[in-house]
Amino acid sequence: MNAYNLSLLQGLVFMATGPLVVGTLRWVKARLQRRQGAVPLQTYRDLAKLLRKQPVIPQTASAVFLYAPVAIFACYAAPGFMAPVLALPREGPPGSGDLVILIALLALARLIMGLAGMDAGAPFGGLGSSRELFLNVLTEPTLLFVAYTLALTCSTTDLASVMAGCFREKIPAVYADPPMLLLGISLALVLLVEAGRLPVDNPTSHLELTMFGKAIHLEYGGPQLALLEWAEALRLTFLITLLLNLFAPYLLVSADYPLWLNALLALLFPAKLLLVTLALALWESLQAKMRLRAIVTPALTALVVAIIAVILAIAERYMLTG
């Protein structure tokens, strides 16, 4: 398998896995709440149903509203093609997996989402836009500090090089390395905030006023809604994959392996994500609902933790000797 096929393969596997992660999460949460719950594959059925429908576009909306879901979907699916998701290429990556680019892609998706929410002119869409972009203000500096920590320890922010050349070499030592551990904590907190997994957001509610991004989804229907739901699932999947590939780079596809082994490993990819998904579901079920502004607390905690990680990384690299 050459590098281009590999990145195509991992992009497709990534896109296919997204709904499964969300489906599993919902199923586990339902079981934890002693409900029957829909099977994890239900998300695929929902997507298929929505994709068959005819879209209804509000009269006040423009082309921005119509094409925004496509752009958002593209932004959240792009990391699958660019970043190391399934595989760790040994040499220079064909894709552009720089962490700063991926951060910008997440922000771009947020910006487009904000525009889509404003475009329909609906009262709830605007509220959702405002909240989504405020979340972006909270998470973007944290992600930049995560990138800075990586730059300090690995001399690059390119994820493939970071994972292949830096993290994998010292994998047992990483767990005892304070900056790396703090980076992991910060990234996990960002995952919670960024993917709408905090008890502040209430995406399954019937109350529009308590929603973040879902308030923007209100005006959408049919294939556009399907793309938005799929995109959200991919956002969550990407952040989980990032965390896993940094701290547990095992069971990865490689250009050296024969095709059957790679296919097997690609099929195992969702199973790897299962562990984090379970933890996420458990954590979510244990939390009480909080008011909107409470989201600032975990976001700022993540930021502070990331800054401490940077300071420790600087100290480790330049100040402490021995």
Binding site: S62, S96, L105, A120, G126, S155, P223
Partner: protein
Amino acid sequence: MAYFELSPIIMLALACHLAGGAAGIFLARFAKRTGQAGTHLALTLAMAGGGLVAYLGACYWLDPMPEPVTIASLVRGLPSSFPTLRLELFADRLAAFFLLLIGMLSALVALYSFVWLKDKAQKNRIAGMYNLFVLAAWLMVIANDVYFFLAFLECMTLVFTFLTMYRHNLLLQQPSEQVDPEEMVAAERAFKVYPVFSHAGVILVTVALVLLALAAGDASFDALRDLSLEGKPGLANAVFLLALAGLGIKGGFSPAHPWVSIVHPYSPTTTHALTLGLIIKVSSFYMLIRILFEFLSPVAWWWGVLVLVVAGATALVGVFYAITSRDLKTALSNHSVENMGIILAGVGLALSLSSSEYNAWLGQDMFAAPPPLAGLALVAALYHLLNHTAFKSLLYLCTGAIENRTGTVDLEKLGGLVHRFPWTSITFLVGAVAIAGMPPLNGFVSEWLTLQAVFAGHNLVAMGQPWLAVSLIALLLMLGIAFGLTALAFAKITGEVLLGAPRRPEISASEKNGDVPWRMRATLLVLSIVCLCLGLFPGTVANQLAEIPHDLLKLEAPLSFGTSATTLEYDVSLQSVEGKEQPRPYQARLAMLPLLAGIGLPAVLGLVLSWRWRRLSGELWTGGAAYQPEAMQISGSAFSYMVWSWLEPRKEGKRPPVGEEVEQAGTSTASEWLPWRLNLSEGRRVREPFRQIIDAAVGWLITTSEQFGNWFQGGDIRRYLGYLFVTFIIMLLVAVLWQ
């Protein structure tokens, strides 16, 4: 001897702009008889002059002048100790870069102005002054001595002061009962505030440059370039602080940023695109880069710390007040301040990396060429400068188009323009995405470069200055928040202006038919394409820009950003610390083609999946009530409430009761020199602490000097005799000591 052959073009460009200025101003007297002729003549000459200047810039970029050309010199009649007064022209790559930008942008804006100035009052004068303004700007860039640099800088101030009177003059021509007194005061404030700030800046720059010229014994920039300040750290520090303060005021660096948004919205929107899109950077960064990297050596490490902190603060403050602005022109003016901060971050990093301490730590001679990282940081700054010129002027020209069509730039009155003016809207959207720093447009590339320079710049910390680490972390924190806020600001602005339903029915009723005329459309399209190209070909652009730091910093090896046009990549080796392993070289890589492919593949899939030939049109979900566009859409102040609410003025920490007018918070009184309570919407205000501080400081200065004057001019004859006596003693002492 290419420069000698080109000098007729300099004269021709000079003649074009002078003739354009004269035509505009003199034909203004006969405006009734000549109609549009004067304006058209002046603008045509401005376009011709702009084209010639751009041509000059391109020629000098390819073939920089080897040495300055002396046009005239005045030696006689001056005291012998006085530095020689001569007009020298010199165009190295830095000057050529700015010449190119000034030429191209001024020609584009002139083309656009044909439409914008049509039927406007004072159109001839504006067109004429526009010529003179551009002339002063490009002459300033190629002037090679202190006197003429300062003279042209001052010319720009004077011409621009005239342009800031535009709105005030318009209001004066209206019947007085129709004029909103508050608006009148605000328009007056523009040309009262601008000269104060601008002259404060010019005075500080003058002192800095004169100190350097005195130390060098000559006012030519060449003498300043050869000047070494080794062993005179006091002088070097003084010049650095004066230059940073003076050029910082000219460039609107925080805390001197308030003038930018007070002054610029009251100038005509066409010149606004040139002044804030480009000239504000010409009048600050051009000289700042010259002073910091050419005239001052050796460089102290703490200069960079100061610049980095100012840069971060500027970026953050700029975008914050862009969010709280009420109209489009003010919001964009405030946002320019943010971009000045990002550019300054690159400059500050380059400054730290070329400091003599860092060189000494690297084991080099103090005066050796700085490491390539410094060049990298400077390329990031210049790249962002270029990008900001493209997208900010695009956004201003879109603003002008919106003003031309709807007659207002008030954010609360606009909305839903995307349905009526597709060209303007699409180009505005391109500008907004570019300025928010989103791939694949140009803003992203330079912000990525700046961040990578910060990331690689951690090697600075190795020399054992913890303050550098603190400033780098502070800068990254402030930049990160500023980037996030910029996305919010432009979602808010774009949403309010272009998207949704029209918020005021009377605005949509007063619309002119159709989108803007072709000349405006062409300008907007050209600038959008420039934004796209600067984003898609980062390798080419960065490799070209790398020539400037290579010449300026006298780097040994050429800076290379890879061989591919669409890929920007570099490797820099980092220095190791004693007792530590050798770190790997810092690698950064931005490849546009895989990025486009990564976005493009799922985008095609998404399009195919969601495409339907027939779509239904439906009602909005409004909770069951009838849809009211004015009341039901989110307003800008509500959109950004979570950002600005902590700066809301409250009396003794109590929230005003809901539904009650916030009387106690107080409105800005019209007589305030710098209004520091900004109106967001009815009853919603936000404080501007910087304006408050500057206002209080200036107020204190005026009162104190008044008191001192009263005391000094006490009116008693004995006191005046005493003054005479003291003066006499001082003169005697001077005469004795001088011998």
